[in-house]
Amino acid sequence: MHEDAEREMAARLLEHPAVAEAVVRGGGERVAYLVPDARHAPLLHRACRLEAEGRLDGLSWHEPEGALLVAQLNRTETDFLYREIFSDNAYLRHGITIPADGVVVDVGANIGMFSLLAAASAPGVRIVAVEPVAELARAAAVNAELHGADVTVLNHGLGSDAGEVDFTYYPNNSVMSGMYAEAAADRDVLRSYLVTGDGAQPGPQFDRLVADRMTTEPRRCAVTTLTDVVAEQKLERIDLLKVDVEKAEADVLAGIDAATWERIDRLVVEVHDLEGRLETVLALLDSLGFETAHDRDRRLELTPCYNVYARRPAAQTATRTAPHPAQETLTALSSAVLRRAGDEPGEAAVPDRCVWVADLSQAEGYAAPMARQQPGDAPRALTEAWTELFGAGSARPEADFFDLGGDSLTAVRLLARLESQLGEEVVEPDIVFTASRFGDLATAVEAGLAKRGRAGPG
């Protein structure tokens, strides 16, 4: 893109209130570097600041379902957690609610996704998040800060007694990490989950996927009891205790003394029903005066995992669905900014994507990737796609797409092939309706590539 056009586009991007500063760079791929406005895009502003301060260090940003920006370790798990906690609302069920100014203890916090849900559920909620894996605890702290949630993150485990334990960390499957991890049994649980859910994959690939997810890393971690946490954190009461600790749940519950039990109003515990544990936990909670219910995620039906819900009969209840996360999202804001810039009249081409940064110095020295294909190659990509559709020898200048039997679905297939070879926006999606002869189409594709080439740096 010429400098003038880049400047014109940057000026158009600046018209969006969420954008404080903007610069456009790139040849083959046009990138808009944007500094978010602190007032109109506070979440992104905080995200950029956290990143600039080096707080990510091994973590990355991801926005599951385009709805909730979080710092995370891997997307598959983050998507799983988001779906379980927000979309499926696995925790706030069976009369389990979080009152305003409530206190929540999130044991097995992972990257703090449940803590974020708790914070968004009611005003003034204080959360104590317990997570033994250092990387995950760090992500939980970053996420709390990003979303302005009142979360104290404790980087240790909980058990029946204070001490140190050996702990298996699955970096590619952190949600199954724990002190009772057993590779063979956990692999079976993971396999069962994968074949029940939509992550199912066939044959050898599937086995590779399982093996990859079950890569282990031994750790040693400090453990304390919930009773000690309540004392250290000076918790007068616990409105909701959430426990998801991969088979160590019995230990966590055993580390609660009678006085602490009296302060707990509600619990949601993931129970691994091994050796009748579900019955034992339900009986324990019943003897402590809780009303209980339990259910199971349909995707976990082949696994021994249940969720147990318990509350004091007097605890306030209300049927509620999972609260929606904050409205400002990276996905929506990026597309809104680009759409608005595209709506303005002018010659400058709209950038392919946005990169939000704390300051524009991060855009300096950026080397744009070269255009994926040079103009002279256009006919080859088109010829291949056309031949695949209509057979050998069909790619003649006068051959007509519709005469050869092309229809809307064929046009979609042709577009998909061209885009995969040449990138998007080289030709208008419905070009075949205005240039249906092969020769005309080849000219249009060449022109599109030449235009993109001219738009390169300098």
């Binding site: 499926d88 809307s408 309706f433």
Partner: protein, 403 residues
């Protein structure tokens, strides 16, 4: 989208009742017309009239359309003299209304008096949805037919299709069954929160349970049609599903069953459209072209094209139907515990019959019926032989309790 030659609508034109028929057709095309982002334009198709020949009759027809739409409580349509420039959805509506034939009628037809018009409008039966909410909060429109104390059967229709596509099944089975169905989440009942909901097959299967809850039905026979068969399979682990019949199912079965070229094309279209809104908007530029109608059965075109009507619908359809078309059904099959009937036909060139055969083979005790006749869309025709097959199956497997 379906691949089959256009056929003539089964209802023949009756000049004496032209207004009544127009009222019914306006109601039939209302979901599609209502989904468009601009006032739909319609051209007089279906007659022998020379295009562009506008006159008194044209003006009178325009007035008739406006009055009738108002009487039916529908948004207005804009009559244009020629079909050139109309989009595929507008042409589908125009084709159904067949206003060209009306223009050739006596002036009396278009100058119908108000009483006749009101009576014609009042006679139109329009499905009235009941609003349900699925487990993740998705609002869905659901429908019922038949006696409320009869055994229940749920029709899991193809993703994105208006309820009218299963009206024949509802009417035919409604004599002895309580027939329930619903329209896909995110595509009919307005839902600004669509992006926050589940889009996978499991989430869509939850909608079936929500329909049962809404009508107070504990358990039901479940009939899955086309892509609905995959959703029905996903719902099958629940004891609320008493029996399964799967009609012309469109299944992802890895490399163990071939797919037709049509299945592969639609699958890649769905994945592309569901990926991003910008991509869906680009694809919509292709799919709004009249050419899209070429391979759609004429009498169903206004229904089949519904989820392609706007870029937003296409994107949502891509996310939902893309999930259906790409989720491997094989892990679900061995666990199906209900009596199961699988129906396909060698004449189905849309969803490969080999897929149904594999599904029947893997479901314990399932039986496969493969009539020689009946293309993919025959799943919605509810022809007498299909109705007899469905009834015989449900009668045989029986139904205890669950009302």
């Amino acid at each position: 989208m379906a691949e089959s030659p256009p056929t003539v609508d089964d209802e023949t034109f009756d000049g004496a009742d032209a207004v009544a028929r127009l009222a019914a057709d306006l109601a039939a095309t209302a979901p599609l017309a209502g989904a468009l982002e601009t006032v739909p334009r319609v051209a007089p198709l279906g007659g022998n009239r020379v295009d562009g020949e506008a006159g008194d009759g044209f003006d009178a027809l325009e007035r008739l359309l406006t009055r009738l739409a108002r009487e039916l409580g529908l948004p207005p349509l804009r009559l244009v003299p020629e079909p050139q420039g109309l989009t595929a959805p507008e042409l589908a509506i125009s084709g159904r209304l067949a206003l060209g034939a009306l223009l050739e009628q006596e002036a009396g037809v278009v100058d119908t008096d108000d009483d006749h018009l009101s009576r014609a409008a009042a006679r139109v039966a329009r499905p009235c949805p009941r609003l349900a909410h699925s487990r993740d909060g998705s609002p869905i429109h659901c429908y019922e037919a038949g006696p409320t104390d009869a055994p229940a059967v749920v029709l899991v229709t193809a993703c994105g299709m208006p309820v009218s596509l299963v009206r024949r099944w509802m009417a035919e089975l409604g004599d002895r069954f309580r027939v329930l169905t619903w329209e896909s989440r995110g595509l009919f009942a307005p839902d600004p929160g669509f992006d926050l909901r589940g889009h996978d097959v499991a989430a869509q299967a939850e909608d079936l349970y929500a329909v049962l809850d809404t009508f107070g039905v504990e358990a039901a026979h479940v009939m899955g049609l086309c892509g609905g068969a995959a959703v029905a399979l996903a719902a099958a682990p629940s004891p609320r599903v008493r029996s399964l019949s799967l009609w012309h199912g469109d299944y992802e079965l890895g490399d163990e069953a071939p797919k037709t070229e049509h299945q592969q094309d639609v699958q890649s279209l769905m994945v592309m459209a569901g990926e991003r809104r910008e991509r869906a908007a680009n694809l919509h530029k292709i799919l709004r072209r009249p050419n899209t109608l070429d391979k759609l059965r004429a009498d169903m075109a206004h229904e089949l094209i519904y989820p392609y009507a706007t870029a937003e619908l296409l994107h949502r359809y891509g996310r939902l139907n893309g999930a259906i078309m790409t989720t491997d059904c094989r892990p679900l099959l061995a666990g199906v515990h209900q009596p199961t009937l699988v129906v396909t036909s060698d004449a189905d060139t849309t969803a490969h019959p080999a897929g149904s055969a594999l599904v029947a083979e893997r479901i314990p005790g399932a039986r496969l019926r493969t009539p020689a006749r009946g293309d993919h869309l025959s799943a919605f025709d509810a022809a007498p032989a299909a109705i007899a097959l469905a009834r015989a199956f449900m009668d045989e497997v029986g139904f205890e309790g669950g009302m």
